[in-house]
């Protein structure tokens, strides 16, 4: 028996047409509104490398590559997702009163199709039950505050699945029908229902059918309004994911070759400095809002959020969407709402980010959280001139003495006294020391250790001495893009004048900025973190490092590991009895110093470095190895606050030098 008959003397088809028109109409109207909002954003040409994009789309979207990293929620989601892809054509069949199946029957595909759809419903059903179990029984901490909406929707979708099985069973029951074993779950339902009398059965099938169609239609209407917009929003998000190297920021203005326009030639009349209006974002930054499913993985890994600061990366993404929704009509009319994007994010949140990219790395659908914060910083610094006071010192110091401490630029090479290094001469490698290695007492020792090891191994290198400047990273991450660019241009000039091709640095921020960001400013170099070079020398036995059994743990710097892509060289270089922290390599937790945060005040009860120092203490290691001058400072301070001063913090190079043979 089927539900396809007259109701109240009117054909079922009339009711279905009316409901479809309402549901599809409402869906299309709302999606259209969102598309118009997203198109308000600025251009960002990502319509290239189609082969790569298709591959990424198949693995990341269809294959759910990053979704399944969460074993429970991820696989539950994947089951529902794959299940719905398999069953979605059933809607056409139910909407045409079985004509679709009949058509498939003519080309001998009906049975296979029935099986696929039936398994699809089963997979979705299992996924939904796991998801409900997680929300109602396991109840992870991060879901404590989430609305009842999630549970309601899961039940509704489960309703769609169950009613589908009942309708399938209805087909199989009644005089003329038989069990169709191509629909195994349907058969199961039919067997359960076979003793029900015909008229009750007819009612059950009718109610199930209409419930099914009402839920599907309702879902269509609901999708654009809630986090279920991710059903559509993730498609452009995953397809047009960022192909730039992780952590690289966009220049103020680029020319036809995608190179930065020189500071002297910038077109200030037509330049938007950072973001404070919805339409200042690129379209791809806006589309993030509708791709977010509120899975909170970014929140789980965010150092600012986990140390109790105002920032929650997930909220930033919600803010983009909600701002668009709430002010949509004004925005589309080209008017400016009273509330700005900065107001919505809140300056406290904007300044709390360490640009560690853990959020971006954790997101299964390639949402780009960090640029939203660095772009609003650009607005606050260059346009509004409204930023934490400490940064004013930072900028003045960088401007006057080209280092964050403001110490005399002429003392930059003092650390190298007595080491007899080449200064300002051409050599195979340039050892770019960086500000911390040049001016910070503790980190000067790292520069000395590195230089000694390089000399020991006979590497031909020189330093720039007083000619070296800050690479500009603190200015850039703090939103002073103009200052960064001036510094980058001067540095590139200086480095090119020395004929620099290969660079060694002990600072992951120099490693990142010079290695990955200077390219757009005319500086193309092979840049190595000192751990990479030192490890290679160790492996080739140009440096003989003896084995030692000390318990040591390694804290991956964000800009070397997750962002820089190098996690093994430092480990091999360190040797010893290496004990990993709970979070390591790409999943390492920031020390709290990145994103110019090390130059800003941090409330005593909200310190990121204490969280990380605790994780290091938990390993039981006696020594915390670091590969970044800021991690050095933050981890040392963190251990001090915890009263764990007996544990030492050492750079990779210092450990190697201690264990150098001969």
């Amino acid at each position: 028996m089927t539900p396809f008959h007259d109701y109240f003397g009117i054909s079922w088809y009339v009711f279905l047409l009316i409901w479809s028109a309402i549901a599809i109409g409402a869906h299309v109207y709302q999606v259209g509104f969102i598309v118009k909002l997203i198109r308000l954003g600025k251009d960002d040409d990502r319509f290239n490398s189609w082969n790569q994009r298709m591959k990424e789309f198949l693995t990341d979207w269809l294959g759910q590559r990053k979704v399944v990293e969460d074993k429970v929620a991820g696989y539950a989601h994947a089951l529902i997702f794959w299940g719905f892809l398999m069953l979605v054509s059933d809607v056409i069949d139910l909407g045409t009163g079985g004509l679709f199946a009949e058509f498939l029957g003519m080309i001998y595909l009906e049975n296979i199709w029935n099986l696929v759809v039936d398994i699809g419903y089963l997979m979705a059903g299992v996924g939904l039950l796991v998801a409900l179990y997680r929300r109602l029984v396991i109840r992870p901490e991060k879901l404590k505050d989430s609305s009842i909406e999630g549970v309601m929707i899961l039940f509704a979708i489960l309703g769609i699945v169950i009613t589908a099985f009942i309708v399938e069973a209805g087909y199989m029951l009644g005089e003329e029908s038989h069990y169709n074993y191509w629909e195994p779950v349907g058969v199961l339902f039919a067997k359960l229902m076979q003793d029900i009398d015909t008229s009750t059965l007819q009612t059950i099938v009718d109610v199930s059918y209409w419930l099914h169609m009402i839920l599907i239609g309702g879902f269509l209407i609901e999708i654009p309004q809630t986090k279920h917009s991710h059903l559509i929003g993730t498609i452009p998000n995953v397809m047009f994911q960022d192909h730039e190297k992780m952590g690289t920021m966009l220049p103020l203005q680029v020319d036809d070759d995608d190179l930065a326009v020189k500071t002297d030639d910038l077109d200030f009349e037509n330049l938007t400095l950072g973001v404070n209006k919805f339409e200042d974002f690129t379209w791809r930054q806006l589309s993030d809002g509708w791709a977010c499913t509120a899975c909170a993985r970014c929140q789980d890994v965010c150092p600012a959020y986990n140390s109790g600061k105002e920032l929650n990366p997930m909220q930033i993404i919600m803010d983009v969407k909600n701002y668009g929704k709430e002010h949509g009509n004004l925005l589309l009319a080209g008017e400016a709402p009273d509330e700005t994007i900065v107001d919505r994010f809140s300056p406290e949140a904007i300044w709390a980010c360490t640009t560690c990219y853990a959020c971006v790395n954790a997101c299964p659908v390639h949402i780009e959280h960090v640029p939203k914060l660095t772009d609003t910083r650009r607005h606050l610094v260059m346009e509004a001139s409204d930023f934490p006071e400490e940064l004013q010192n930072l900028f003045n110091n960088l401007e006057r003495n080209s280092n964050p401490w403001g110490l005399g630029a002429h003392t930059r090479a003092d650390w190298a006294e007595g080491l007899d290094l080449k200064i300002g001469e051409p050599a195979e490698y340039l050892f770019y020391v960086g500000c911390a290695g040049s001016f910070d007492e503790r980190n000067k020792n790292v520069s000395r250790a590195t230089a000694k090891l390089l000399k020991e191994a006979g590497v031909d290198f020189s330093i720039m001495g007083e000619m070296e400047m800050c690479n500009g990273d603190p200015a850039r991450r703090a939103g002073n893009e103009f200052m960064f660019q001036m510094m980058a241009e001067m540095n590139v000039d200086n480095m090119n004048s020395l004929g620099t091709l290969k660079v060694i640095t002990a600072c992951p921020h120099c490693f990142h900025t010079i290695g990955k960001e200077y390219e757009k400013y005319g500086g193309k170099y092979e840049v190595y973190h000192h751990s990479q070079i030192l490890n290679e020398l160790k492996q080739k036995e140009k440096l003989k490092i003896k084995d030692y059994g000390d318990k040591v743990t390694f804290h991956d710097p964000c800009y070397l590991g997750r962002i820089g892509g190098e996690t093994e060289a430092p480990r091999e270089a360190i040797g010893g009895d290496l004990i990993e922290m709970e979070r390591s390599r790409e999943k390492s937790f920031c020390c709290g110093g990145g994103g110019a945060r090390i130059w800003m005040e941090e409330d005593a009860d909200k310190r990121v470095n204490e969280i990380r120092a605790k994780e290091a203490v938990n390993t039981g290691a006696d020594c915390v190895a670091v590969g970044c001058p800021f991690c050095m400072t933050m981890m040392s301070d963190g251990l001090k606050t915890l009263g764990e001063e007996q544990k030492t913090v050492k750079d990779i190079s210092e450990i190697m030098l201690e264990n150098l043979e001969g």
Binding site: F268, M382, E383, S385, R400, N401, L407, G408, H410, F482
Partner: protein, 253 residues
């Protein structure tokens, strides 16, 4: 209200200090705006924003060094124009001669108020501003920590030992500004860009003979000893050793 702000370019605090035969070697100095004068510029710009008028920056400096970059930042903060008086043989430690050159230049402007920092952080003489007031025949309030203007009357607060003094005078007047009189703004990028189009004039002025006191010798403070680290197995032992040393060697307790 038209305001003149006097700006002294002083060696960057991180400049390398070298003394050869009792004379300071200033060859490698980098120069920056005297921080006290920045408060004066900020105050002038605030008055201009409230009252209208023009802010002219006057700086007296030698005829051979380049000082444009840091000085131009004061234009970005909101001053309207800069006149640098270039003088052969200029020295920062000759307040009388310098006050003369500056007051001559101010006389050519039509100003209601002259602002400057209380002192330069090069020689800390705190003399030039007050001498300028004397030469112009204007009232002077020195070391002002907050300043209000109301139709021709200036009301100034001065932090003095153990209290606060409020002083009033009519304009024109010369005010020298104390530390933390205000918070100097950080210019937005568009202001920095606009400042490049503002008038920046270099004007040669004659050297002036004066009976200023003369610096006869410069010397650097004696280098500090390395200090002594106190070793010990635990804090108690270290503290005991320290007390012993303070008693017996340093003889301070």
């Amino acid at each position: 209200m038209n305001i003149a702000v006097l700006i002294k370019m002083v060696p960057d605090t991180e400049s390398k200090l070298e003394v050869n035969d009792g004379a300071l070697n200033d060859q490698n100095f980098k120069y920056m705006v005297n921080p006290y004068d920045e408060f004066a510029v900020e105050q002038a710009v605030q008055f201009k924003e409230a009252e209208g008028g023009k802010v002219t920056l006057l700086s007296l400096f030698s005829d051979n060094n380049s000082i444009d970059t840091d000085l131009r930042k004061m234009l970005a903060i909101g001053a309207d124009e800069i006149v640098v008086l270039r003088q052969k043989g200029y020295r920062g430690d000759k307040p009388l001669a310098n006050a003369k050159a500056l007051s001559d230049a101010i006389k050519e402007l039509d100003v209601d108020l002259v602002l400057c920092g209380i002192q330069g952080i090069d020689y800390y003489q705190a003399a030039t501003g007050t001498m300028v007031a004397q030469m112009l025949g204007m009232p002077n309030i020195s070391g002002v920590t907050s300043l209000e203007y109301n139709s021709g009357t200036l009301k100034a607060k001065r932090q003095i030992e153990g209290g606060l003094q409020t002083v009033e005078t009519s304009t024109p007047a010369v005010i020298t500004c104390q530390k933390d009189m205000n918070k100097v703004r950080f210019p937005a990028l568009k202001d920095i860009m606009m400042s490049k189009r503002k008038p920046f004039e270099n004007k040669d002025v004659d050297s002036i003979d004066s009976n200023d006191a003369v610096t006869s010798e410069s010397s650097l403070p004696p280098a500090r000893d390395g200090g002594e680290m106190i070793d010990g197995d635990n804090a108690e032992e270290k503290v005991n050793k320290l007390i012993e040393k303070l008693k017996m060697e340093a003889k301070v307790i």
